[in-house]
């Protein structure tokens, strides 16, 4: 039945999931907006994070330690993409596709060669679950505040500035003695670390990790970034500082997920959602190009 009550009942859960996608989008932001590279590794590293966290938690590991390990595993994955790109001189987008492809096998190995590992919140100690949605929103908000704070600090340091310069202008960075290859590897590593962390949260939230849980993550990440940027531009037409822009990435994730909930509520076949998302992201990526008159 399509009733308003039905829609309203779904909103809190949508916000909780939206925040988690927003956290993932912070990772995508590092590669897509700071380094200005399209990193397709994230479709794999999101599932890697979920698999790592869930397997460890179901083995009785403290969930915070499991999350920290998921983050580190994500960093290692990002390093692989970065090194394939910079050392083997393969274009970044292809490096990401290769690593993402390879991760399918690796993720299956992590999960003991099964496609799905459940993580029942009544039997396991988890930090976030859909059974307690207000709690989930709170945990998501704390993660968002912490990560935005750390990213704001980091990208203001000498190293963070060097990464920004690398993404902005490779020639300038080299002329200033910046090891651009190292900066790229660090950027890919941190981006995928955050994506894996968000994957770990998502798996706990939904109560299982799945080999396909990362499919389309890059597109959702881009959607969150772009929706957030459009909203930020409307609210702060004169521009705003980096921390607020990162906050709008989280907001973008929430708005994206709420749109999906409305679409599902309207009884659109969920199999058509990916087509709809792809078209929305394509248009959002295209519009700024035409506004500049290119």
């Amino acid at each position: 039945m399509i009733t308003i009550q039905n829609l309203i009942a779904r909103i809190p859960g949508g916000i909780a999931q939206g925040i988690i996608w927003g956290l993932m989008a912070l990772g995508v932001y590092i590669t897509f907006r700071v380094l200005k590279e399209s990193d397709l590794t994230v479709d794999g590293s999101f599932a890697t994070g979920g698999a790592t966290a869930v397997v460890l938690i179901t083995k009785g590991v403290n969930p915070w330690i499991a999350m920290a390990i998921a983050f580190v595993v994500g960093i290692i994955v990002g390093c692989c993409t970065g090194l394939i790109h910079t050392k083997l001189k393969i274009p970044a987008i292809l490096s990401g596709i290769l690593v993402q492809f390879a991760l399918y096998s690796i993720n299956l190995h992590i999960m003991g060669m099964v496609a799905n590992v459940s993580c029942n919140p009544t039997k396991n100690n988890v930090i976030i679950t859909m059974r307690n949605i207000p709690g989930a929103i709170l945990v998501g908000a704390v993660f968002a505040a912490l990560l935005i704070g750390v990213m704001y600090w980091y990208f203001g340091t000498e190293q963070g500035s060097a990464i920004r310069a690398t993404g902005n202008n490779n020639h300038m960075a080299l002329a200033q003695g910046i090891n651009v290859n190292n900066m790229k590897v660090i950027g890919f590593a941190l981006g995928n670390g955050l994506v894996a962390l968000a994957g770990g949260l998502m798996a706990q939230y939904q109560g299982f990790s799945d080999i396909n849980m990362g499919r389309g993550a890059i597109v959702i990440g881009l959607a969150a970034i772009i929706i957030g940027e459009v909203l930020a531009e409307v609210i702060f037409p004169k521009g705003t500082n980096f921390a607020v822009r990162l906050l709008f990435v989280i907001i973008g994730g929430i708005v994206y997920y709420l749109i999906m909930i409305v679409v599902l509520w309207l009884r659109v076949d969920s199999n058509d959602l990916k087509l709809a998302t792809a078209i929305i992201v394509m248009l959002a990526l295209a519009i700024p190009n035409f506004r500049k008159g290119e």
Binding site: A165, M172, A173, G177, I178
Partner: protein
């Protein structure tokens, strides 16, 4: 300060586009020497500059900066010794970053970049005073994105950045070629000021003969990847465009083929 021994570079070896871009270049620049480099299109001026900067490695020969062999060092490692300004005003600065952030990046040229703040409060004052000195109208715009500046302002900023940490060698790659004549003159004025102030060893590639004659202490002319003229001291001071063209024809047996250089 700069010593180049018989360097050679061939692009696209073994293909139909094979080109011997540097054909045994020797050069010795004394400390504080300001050399202008001129030549017709494809003579190898920018190639020689790129060889020194380490954009790629040379096939043969050696390059020393301040008696350090840099022949095998990669571009970013050579940046410890070199300040650089490119022909394209967009290339020398990070457009999405602020003026002060660009200056702070340049202030740390060649240093390890750790987790200390990218810019310290006291740096801002220094940068403000420095920009004021050059009268570019930028001293009150430290937190403006560099992308909003004009080409001339960006080029002047790149020059200031290249020399913020006094480099052993300043490389200028036709850095006024993309600017209108008035702005180009202003940027050259800033160039002379900076070079004189810090007594910098400078290597300036130009397509403009007049600029090559009226600036610097020494003039090199390249042709087909070789240095064919090397003029310094009193002889350089007395040089005119006509004399230079005459010398070029004597040295190369060809006519100078770069209208912009003669008319510009």
């Amino acid at each position: 300060m700069l010593r180049i021994e018989n360097i050679k570079k061939t692009f696209n070896p073994g293909t139909i586009n094979e080109k011997m871009a540097l054909d045994g270049v020797d050069l010795n620049l004394e400390d504080g020497e300001f050399v202008t480099v001129i030549g017709s299109n494809g003579a190898g001026k920018s190639t020689l500059l790129n060889a020194i900067a380490g954009v790629w490695l040379v096939d043969e020969g050696k390059i020393f900066i301040d008696n350090v062999d840099v022949t095998k060092l990669s571009e970013y490692k050579r940046a410890v010794y070199i300040g650089r300004v490119f022909q394209d005003p967009m290339m020398g600065t990070a457009a999405d970053m602020w003026i002060e952030e660009n200056l702070a990046l340049a202030h740390r040229r060649g240093q390890r970049r750790g987790l200390t703040p990218g810019i310290l409060p006291e740096e801002r004052e220094t940068y403000k005073l420095l920009l004021k000195e050059f009268d570019l109208g930028l001293e009150d715009r430290l937190s403006t994105k560099v992308g909003l500046l004009s080409g001339g302002q960006r080029q002047a900023l790149t020059l200031i950045m290249a020399t913020l940490q006094s480099p052993k060698l300043l490389l200028l790659d036709e850095h006024t070629a993309a600017l209108d004549p008035k702005t180009a003159a202003k940027v050259l004025e800033v160039t002379d000021k900076i070079v004189e102030k810090s007594h910098l060893t400078t290597f300036m590639v130009t397509h403009n003969m007049k600029d090559a004659i009226s600036h610097g202490t020494r003039l090199l002319m390249l042709n087909n990847g070789k240095i064919i003229l090397d003029i310094k001291g009193e002889e350089k001071k007395k040089l005119t465009v006509e004399k230079l063209l005459e010398k070029f024809e004597q040295a190369s047996g060809e006519e100078f083929t770069n209208d912009a250089a003669i008319l510009g």
